[in-house]
């Protein structure tokens, strides 16, 4: 009897554990509007609490065989209740041949993590444009960052439109969101827009968010995805109102 009860209890506990489901999903709110706050003075309080802000909090350069990094230099003011994403911009110094090593990889991750976790920011976004030969650098960085971030912190990356359309190397990247940027696409831009007219990005991982600019076309936009907005000039209430007006359903 006691053994039977023990078995039943054990089974019940096991069932209870199984029924908890996976850990709480990382939270990027679908359909949200997000303003990119780049490296210049920005006062985004006019946007209110309902608009998220992805602020550049770190600027990291891979230069030859070492890393140089700094934090944001310009003030950013946001509504205290606005959700904030720490966006760390990474770039490779093209004046020096990159000499990647395990040590440099560690240094890069350490630098990015330093600026990826300021207080009050709920998520992290990496902005790192790489050439084809440098893709492993980005993928390794994402793995390192993901491993070091708390489980509850969502991780996003910006992406060139071509990464979502004609390439699939981001498949399996340990990120919760990929944001294809539909502006400044250069000569291939028309092709991307035309492709969106007859469907969506080929990579399904790129279907949850999109990046637009206040001076770009915004047609062929699927509803329901997170929209990141860039303004080539510092945001003003008017520019914000105009883009919202244009995005209104």
């Amino acid at each position: 009897m006691t053994t039977r009860l023990s078995i039943c209890f054990t089974v019940a506990v096991a069932l209870l554990i199984a029924c908890q489901g996976p850990a709480a999903a990382r939270d990027f709110k679908p359909g949200a509007t997000v303003l990119w706050a780049w490296e210049r003075p920005e006062d985004l309080r006019f946007a209110g609490p309902g608009v998220e802000v992805a602020a550049m909090t770190g600027f990291v350069v891979l230069s030859g065989n070492h890393v140089w990094a700094r934090g944001r230099r310009f003030p950013l003011e946001v509504d205290p209740a606005a959700r904030r994403i720490a966006m760390v911009h990474v770039q490779i110094d093209r004046r020096r041949p990159l000499v990647m090593s395990a040590e440099l990889r560690r240094a890069l991750a350490a630098a990015v993590l330093t600026y990826a976790r300021p207080p009050g920011f709920f998520g992290v976004q990496i902005d790192f444009e790489v050439r084809a030969s440098e893709r492993p650098v980005l993928l390794n960085l994402l793995r390192d960052i993901r491993a070091a971030l708390p489980e509850s912190v969502p991780l996003s990356i910006t992406a060139l439109a071509s990464w979502c359309e004609t390439e699939d190397w981001l498949r399996g990247a340990p990120v919760d969101e990929i944001v294809p940027m539909l502006f400044r696409m250069g000569p291939a831009g028309e092709e991307v827009w035309a492709g969106l007219g007859s469907g969506d990005f080929r990579q399904p991982e790129c279907h949850s968010a999109v990046g637009l600019s206040t001076d770009s076309r915004i047609d062929r936009l699927k509803r329901g995805r997170r929209v990141y907005l860039f303004d080539p000039k510092p945001w003003t209430p008017r520019a914000f109102a105009d883009i919202l007006r244009r995005l209104s359903p």
């Binding site: 911009h89 630098a111 330093t114 000569p187 047609d219 936009l221 080539p232």
Partner: protein, 828 residues
Amino acid sequence: MNMISRIFVAVALLLPLATVRPAFASGPTSGGPWDLDAFGGGAADRASFYDGHVGVILPSAARSELYATWRLLHGQAVGAAIGETLSVPCCGDPDQTASDRIEAWRQARKAVPDAAKVAWIQTDRPGPDNSDTPNCFGDAFATAASTLRARIASHGASSPWVKIWLNGQDAVFQACSEPGQALPALAPDAPVWLKKDQAYQWAALKFYSGDYASAAADFAAIGADPASPWRIWSAYLVARSRYRAALAGPTPQAYALARQTIEALKRSPPGTPGREEAIGLLKALAIREDPAGMRKQLASALAAPDLPPTAASDFRDLVELGAAPAAETPVLDWIATIKADGAVFAPELHKPLADPVDEDWRARERKIAARSIAEKAAARTAALAHAWMRWRATHDAAWLLAALSLSDPDETGARELVAAAAALPPSSPAYLTGTYQRIRLTIATATPAATRSELDAILRRRDLSVTTRNLFLAERAQVAETLARFAVLSLRRRVCGVEQERCVRADYNNQEEPWGVYDGKGYAGSIGIGENARLIIDRMPLSMRMALAEDRSLPSPLRLDIALTTWVRATLLQDDTAVNAMTRRLKPLLPQLSDNWDGVLAARTLADRRVAEAFVLAKLPGARTDLADYVRPEGTVGQFQGAWPDWRILPPGHADPAAMPPPPEAYYPQALQTLSLPSPILPADAELGRQTSAMADPICFGLCNAGAFPVRLPAFVAKQAARARTERGYFPRQPAGGEMEGDTFLFGENLRGTTSPPEPGSLSLWDVLFDYAAAHPKDPRAPEMMHRLIHVVRFGQKHDHLGRRAFLLLHARYPASAWTKRAKYYYD
């Protein structure tokens, strides 16, 4: 001064000043102009400018550059050394030096066995408003590295004392970002050198931790210690500590103490470390303590005949100190005016629209665009009124140039300005700008021969910068006598080529070089056809374009561009003779389509010809009737860029009489469509389109003048305008959408005007290709034709489920074909 300005001032005044590099930090890039440069161009052009050779002024230049221009216009020297600092955004040493010094320290540490691993060192600490404040600078790491090397040389890398020293120094640098660090306690038998070094490390740690009073006391004690090797730094470091203390806790007492200490440093014997920093520290303090006083002082220093070496940072500080009475800072008044700054001259129109959001998307876009147009017009008008007033009051050439650049050709009062500009002697630094603007205002009405003569004289000068020469070439092309002369005048030299003529703009703006427009492949090349020349070429009739495509004064890549767009026109016009002539031209220019060109030439029937032509177009996504939106095919067929239009042939007699060429704004570089045009998205609205075009400047894209520059067609082109218009009626317009399709918004291509469903009786070249391939299953080209059509629909415009039909036929008939294997999906 508001919070942002206060913090901005604080950041700007930190010494040494951190450099912010806007090109990297301002977001993604967009295409900029390749034949003009607001940053002064290459090294030679900049040097010439600093020497006093003022070319055509670009009001869009950085304010520091315009400040240099103001000086030169008033006969005041700038010089190369200071000029270079003014031509880039201020201030500070390049980040690379700090980065290298930090790395050198990291490497130096490794000489000590069992040193803790340090992957990376943070040198800033959290500041206000989500920013980070630089705390530790490159010099500190350089000093630490050299000190460590010296201690190792004296005591050995394995010395436990050296290890303790290193641990202490690591704690100091940890304090750069995190307060609350501490140094290891020293045993009583620790050597004297270590005790002295650690005293210095403690003072530094307190400094970086923000305990400035303690740091000052410690540095002072070190200065009083004759046995400390660090005593010579005492005066400087005490001054810096008290300076930082005053910034952190600005009270009259703190300012006074800081000032006293820095004055003492300034009076110290020559050779005292840090003595040269005293003046900058005093200035930075004074800006915080007495901004109005400092503004006057800076304005006076910057107007003096001789500039201090700190002119660039002084100018930046002057700008940041905010608005001042115009009389106090006339240069800033002039800069705001020549830029027609909307925030200054049309503040009311800066506010968001208050009315409800329109239901109809077209109405929304229209309203936003209309308000942008109104703001730009209002700012220009108000700025012009101010410039007039200042010129009348002063007869200062700088104000004359401002008024000229703000005027429209038909403006009341332009005549008086034109007459004044005509009176400028060639030796005047205002002459070239005055002449450029004067010609802009009069080119439509002046005698072409007189305009030619004047421009030829200028173009014979050897002291023109690349930008200035290109601008005058653009004016001269508008009065070209013949097509051959126009061909030569259409060419512009690239300002900053791939190899970089040491241009600074690549580092300081977010505009990338355009691609595929030069006499080389991709980004390579040094010559291109100017945008306003492209506009003129697009308004030429077919026969004239054909002749231009054969002109050998144009490099072959540029002849390809003209020949290909002309070929497309000839195809749509069903002018077989012209098609064949251009096909022969294109064979050597675009050999990737060799078989296709042969197919066109071999076609014996109308049907065969259309198939051959459609097959060509199916491989050329960037092909267009106009250079405005054409993308040059480069590389292999698979690498050609662009998106296919829905090519249609109209039956004879069914030309669209309302068809228009691309508007002037269509020739703007992408980045300047944003920055220079009143509305980034131009709605499909005839009236607003007309207003925008009326403000356009396809010669300088608004960089040279807020006033418009309507393009004048050379007489030999204007004479054939009617023929060109008739031909234009047979070229396709882009579709407009604006309808919901499922959960997708469809907006139209709106730069080209509106259009409607396909014209009745028009023949789709894609249907031609599909129908042929469907009816000729044994033609070996059929699988490729189907494959190409799937691609056309995928990256082009939807057309009657064509992609799906082609896919199904391809897979049904040619399952083993390589073309079929490559077509895994269709897009419908």
